[in-house]
């Protein structure tokens, strides 16, 4: 029994040393590269990004491409509009609780018009009337209330977020009408369809980024932060003076 005990302890000691060495390697690698203060988990994030990219190329992108091939444009537009209308409900609420009068008015107007004249949202009549969409999830609300974005996190399968958005997920979930559908297969089907719709709408943009980036990971990250800032300030972000070359 003593021998077994010793072997187990040896094994544990070796595993522990290996883990510590691994962590040291990871952290030293992170320090060697130019550390971005917004991305303290860069090494981890890069691995997840890599995984997501592989999953996307192997599975999600082909399915989204097939989705576009086999469905007529009007049907896909209807799907996009339907989920857009569901989204507008939550956007209206978020805009209201952050006191954005114009955005709230527009969002409420969109929901009312599209749900009625637009046949439950399948037809986007409101956009034809030039009533703007004002996307606002709970993450943005937290930002408007003063919460900083927190570190950049790449979530498996779901992609890039900042910690603030991740923290906001449970609230976003309660604001998503789809989550109130009682029949579980229907609810799951709707969720998958909305995810597919989203991925399909970003197919072309993804191709542009593939060609434009030297390092897709940092390109995505920097664009994400710029876009987040842009949305927070409603396109009127305080300009930082450009340093002369």
């Amino acid at each position: 029994m003593d021998r077994v005990g010793l072997r187990v302890k040896n094994h544990m000691a070796r595993t522990a040393m290996g883990a510590v060495a691994g962590l040291l390697c990871l952290s030293s690698h992170a320090l060697a590269a130019q550390a971005d203060p917004r991305d303290p988990f860069e090494s981890f994030n890069r691995s997840v990004y890599s995984f997501n990219d592989s999953l996307d190329r192997a599975l999600i992108k082909p399915v989204a491409t097939a989705y576009i091939k086999v469905t007529p444009h009007w049907m896909r537009k209807g799907v996009t509009n339907f989920f857009g209308n569901v989204g507008d409900v939550w956007y209206a609420i978020n805009n209201a609780i952050t006191l954005k009068r114009q955005a709230t008015g527009d969002s409420v107007g969109r929901v009312m018009i599209n749900s009625t004249v637009g046949l439950l949202g399948f037809i986007d009549v409101a956009s034809d009337m030039n009533i703007e969409k004002h996307p606002a999830d709970f993450g943005l609300t937290l930002g408007r209330w003063g919460m900083g974005p927190g570190p950049y996190v790449v979530v498996p399968v779901l992609g890039p977020y900042t910690l603030r958005e991740v923290v906001a997920w449970p609230v976003d979930y309660t604001g998503n009408l789809v989550s109130y559908v009682h029949d579980i297969p229907t609810r799951d089907g709707l969720t998958l369809l909305s995810a597919l719709d989203l991925r399909a709408s970003y197919l072309k943009a993804g191709e542009v980024i593939d060609g434009a980036a030297l390092d897709a990971y940092s390109f995505t990250r920097d664009s994400y932060f710029q876009r987040q800032r842009y949305r927070l300030y409603d396109g009127e972000e305080p300009e930082s003076p450009e340093p002369a070359p």
Binding site: K204, G211, L214, S218, S223, G235
Partner: protein, 211 residues
């Protein structure tokens, strides 16, 4: 006395011609009108060209090269994106950086333009004072789906071309030069200026094979 008359006429002639030159200077297009003209021109050309609408990237690249690039201060863009390393680079390195960066951007822009179908450009009201030497023109591309914000940073170039040149571009809140600044910094830190040139050249090579 003849000479005096002649002299006076000569002065009047000089004054008149200076006024004319001054007025030509002031006739430089308004910056938002300039952007509108170029945008509409490019969009209309794509919409009318069947080959371009079917995704002929080569033709769109040519369009971007001939109709858009003359209005871009590309040296400034490259220098800004490269950052402090620019001044340490040799003129030859600077030229190569500029050339490869240009190919990359033209190709990327052409790729984005290849998806134009029935979009229209709406110019937002200009918020700048007439004395501004640099300003931002905001536009919105409307048509297929959610509107896309597209903003341009312009520098005044009196007497040259249309009087304005583009030195930065913003799509949906993302500034081009800023994004490439960090891309380039990463490469320079790892492999130096020559390494950056190689990475750009490699990227361009891969992209050209994709057509």
């Amino acid at each position: 006395m003849n000479r005096q008359i002649f002299f006076r006429q000569w002065v009047l002639l000089m004054l008149a011609s200076m006024l004319c030159m001054g007025r030509a200077w002031a006739d430089d297009e308004a910056p938002d009108a300039f952007i509108k003209r170029v945008s509409v021109d490019v969009l209309d050309t794509i919409k009318a060209d069947k080959a371009m609408r079917n995704g002929d990237i080569g033709r769109i690249v040519n369009l971007v090269d001939t109709r858009i690039m003359p209005h871009v201060d590309f040296q400034r863009m490259t220098a800004s994106a490269v950052g402090p390393g620019w001044r340490q680079a040799t003129p030859e390195q600077q030229k190569r950086l500029q050339d490869e960066f240009k190919i990359l951007l033209v190709r990327t822009y052409a790729g984005a333009l290849s998806q134009v179908s029935d979009q229209v450009v709406v110019i937002k009201p200009l918020r700048a004072s007439p004395e501004d030497k640099e300003l931002v023109v905001k536009t919105e591309v409307r048509g297929g789906g959610d509107p896309i914000q597209l903003d341009y940073r312009l520098e005044k170039t009196p007497g040259q071309g249309s009087g304005w040149r583009i030195y930065n571009l913003n799509v949906l809140g993302v500034w081009l030069v800023e994004t490439y600044k960090s891309q380039f910094a990463q490469e320079i830190n790892a492999k130096g200026i020559d390494g950056l040139i190689e990475s750009l050249a490699a990227r361009n090579k891969t992209n050209s094979k994709k057509v």
